[in-house]
């Protein structure tokens, strides 16, 4: 019998991740903005932040832009955002 092998990684799914806790409200919270580093990423996120500040009373805003859109966020920036922010919004802008 000829056995044909599976060329995909379906049998090895990505490691499961645990989602962060969701705050009940955003009033007074610190909001993180993580832009992908492309041309209009932070411009788009700034508009999102404006709405969140107006409608939900977000207090402080921390902005991080990745130096390269193809790279993952640096461990230092990820740790900083996780430590200081109640919510982080990330987006692709082009």
């Amino acid at each position: 019998m000829i056995r044909i092998l599976d060329p995909t990684l379906r049998a090895t799914p990505p490691r499961p991740a645990v989602g962060a806790r969701r705050p009940a409200r955003l009033g007074g919270a610190t909001l993180g903005l993580l832009a992908n580093g492309k041309t209009h990423g932070m411009a788009f996120l700034d508009r999102v932040a404006e709405h969140l500040a107006t409608r939900h009373g977000v207090a402080e805003i921390l902005r991080v832009t990745k130096p390269n859109a193809s790279a993952t966020v640096s461990p230092d920036d990820a740790a900083m955002l996780a430590k200081r922010c109640a919510v982080v919004v990330t987006a692709i802008g082009d």
Binding site: I4, P7, T8, L9, P14, S70, T72
Partner: protein, 340 residues
């Protein structure tokens, strides 16, 4: 494709130095690891002969280098091909073509090594067109873009040696490439006249960016550089100096985006050391300002951004320029030694 039977895959794996579970590529954005086992399956499917496997593994490790940032060229609208340039004795050992029609059909190693990488992207990283691979158009090099350097026709040390690999060893150098431009010159022998057509192609508005470049000189063109005694460094410096456009041309063509002026690195690319302090106002990227005719914007950030190689048939004044994918800096050249 060739059905990847267990027997064929075992033979493929045995031709390289890796164990089945060795991770040759980890893609961090999606946290996917590709082992030598999965590479062997896809190499069989691509039609590789077992003796190609060390080259395929080195190429996969090269595109898996964190500096290469594979997620970008694998998924971007830019539609990059994964270029693999092979140097050293392995070229002859596996029949990898460096001469006539080296980018085209006719050599199994050229056709299948790149194909194996593409099948890994499709099968293991799920870069399916329209899903993760969002190439607006893509191009034919995405099927396979693997070739050897024509070292005997080169005026210089082999490419891999220029990049730090010991002479006599074999290596791959990878690059995320836009489609190539044929640079056609038949009546220029002096380096400055010859290279002008290359610089002009490099400065074309359609692909001008701060990104890197690959030039593959045809043997005929390489010979003129050799006869004139031009070094690799001198050729790179001349090309960088002359592959430039006036800033006013870029503005008239809408090639300067508003956000470019907010990014210090891109401002330096456009304006040099002044950093663009003269560009003021929200529409400074659109208006041609006094002095913009005198500012020349170069392709890349310096001569080292231009990689020079040699390949092709002995007849014909046809060389090639491959721009980096994307409008930004995108990814660097990465060189990895092929295991003996």
């Amino acid at each position: 494709v060739v059905p990847p039977t267990a027997a064929l895959v075992e033979r493929m794996l045995a031709a390289g130095p890796w164990r089945a579970a060795d991770v040759l590529l980890h893609e961090p954005v999606r946290d996917r690891s590709v082992t030598a086992w999965h590479l062997a399956i896809n190499a069989v499917m691509a039609g590789c002969r077992p003796e190609y496997f060390p080259v395929v593994g080195a190429a996969l490790a090269a595109i898996g280098d964190p500096e290469f940032k594979l997620h970008g060229p694998a998924t971007s609208t830019g539609g990059a091909a994964l270029m693999v340039i092979v140097n050293g004795p392995v070229r002859e050992a596996i029949g990898l073509r460096h001469g006539v029609n080296l980018f085209g059909p006719g050599a199994r190693a050229n056709a299948t090594i790149g194909r194996a990488l593409r099948l890994v992207l499709l099968n293991c990283l799920e870069c399916h067109p329209g899903v993760l691979d969002q190439s607006t158009q893509g191009w034919a090099g995405k099927y396979s873009l693997c070739f050897a350097e024509h070292e005997a026709a080169s005026p210089w040390e082999p490419l891999h040696v220029s990049r730090g690999v010991a002479a006599g060893r074999s290596a791959v150098t990878v690059f995320a490439a836009e489609s190539g431009h044929n640079v056609l010159v038949h009546a220029a022998r002096e380096p400055e006249r010859l290279l002008r057509s290359f610089a002009d192609a490099m400065a074309a508005l359609g692909s001008l960016s701060p990104g890197r470049s690959v030039i593959v000189f045809a043997p005929e063109h390489a010979r003129y550089l050799a006869l004139a005694g031009w070094s690799r460094a001198r050729t790179q410096a001349w090309l960088y100096e002359h592959a430039s456009r006036r800033l006013s041309d870029l503005k008239r063509a809408g090639k300067v985006e508003a956000q470019f002026l907010e990014n210090a690195e891109t401002r330096r690319w456009l304006y040099g050391e002044s950093g663009g302090s003269e560009a003021v106002g929200a529409d400074a990227h659109e208006r041609v300002l006094p002095g913009d005719d005198a500012i020349f914007v170069h392709r890349g950030l310096g001569p080292d951004d231009i990689l020079l190689s040699v390949g092709g048939g002995d007849a014909g004044g046809h060389s090639a320029f491959f721009p980096s994918w994307s409008r930004g800096r995108s990814v660097p050249f990465v060189t990895k030694e092929v295991p003996a």
